[in-house]
Symmetry: C2
DNA sequence: CAAAGCCTTTACGTTTACGTAAACGCGAGA
DNA sequence: TCTCGCGTTTACGTAAACGTAAAGGCTTTG
């Protein structure tokens, strides 16, 4: 437990540069400890970095991702705060649901494209003369 | 059929500026007709714009989105081309699947956060004294 | 006929998210 | 002692995706 990491270590693990990790710190997204001058990251920071990169993959800006991370580690404040919080969570979820629908649609489009592609390939492999130029017909797997 | 649109019309419909639409044209993503100097967009461009914006919501760069759109309207070339094409489609699908998994994970995280939030709210509404400051206890719906 | 709207092109500005280089510290090892 | 290797700060550079003016054209409505 209480495992720690160097900046290069994290950079290698997640396929980013140290510059990137320092940049996230500048934005307040990561808060490593220090051993002398050197940054020391703990599991918490590693998790956060993972969340940041996930947010990026989903097209969120770093600001948006920060908001989302803040939603993850809830504050346990007073009732008003908690309600606001719950509403924010609901909003983000709606956004994520939208993205999911977008993904389904994109996947469906790709499926159609692939189907057309596959059908056309079937035609060409059956009778290589039809349509375009010929190739090695049916020898491969 | 053959309905056409002005640039402002499309801009309003999709919540972007005309500048944005012209920018996409600069990148070769849209290819409107012209009536004199004015751009005239047809259904095809409207669909493309929709696809571009979907790509953006999913965190794809405009370059990536262009590639994806090119996959949608298949070329029907020769066998080699088609196979390359099919592979590209598979790759994009893998990427989209990854994003979907990211979304599921993010939604799961949000669910956990919401559950904690809800539980805490339940506590506070049952016995408002526990933990933090009080509010109007149980009058609302 | 003048102002209001919608469109045009050209061009510089801005934000986000880093890249890249310079110059330095510091411990390990040949 | 020198030089890797890893880390540091400071600072300017950059690509992507537009924003935002400036200056003008066409048309239609009062």
């Amino acid at each position: 437990m209480t495992e720690t990491f160097g900046i290069g270590e994290l950079a290698r693990e997640f396929g980013v540069t140290a510059r990137t990790i320092r940049f996230y710190e500048d934005l307040g997204l990561l808060t490593p400890l220090r051993e002398g001058q050197k940054r020391v990251y703990r599991g918490r920071d590693r998790v956060r970095l993972k969340l940041i990169l996930r947010g990026k993959r989903l097209g969120f800006s770093l600001a948006e991702t920060r908001e989302m991370i803040e939603l993850y580690d809830a504050p346990a404040g007073e009732v008003g705060q908690l309600r606001l919080f719950r509403d924010k969570i609901a909003a983000k979820r709606a956004e994520l649901d939208g993205k999911r629908r977008d993904i389904e649609a994109a996947l469906a489009d790709l499926d159609r494209a692939e189907e057309r592609c596959r059908a056309r390939l079937g035609e060409l492999e059956d009778r290589p003369a039809t349509g375009a130029g010929a190739e090695a017909p049916g020898l491969g797997g």
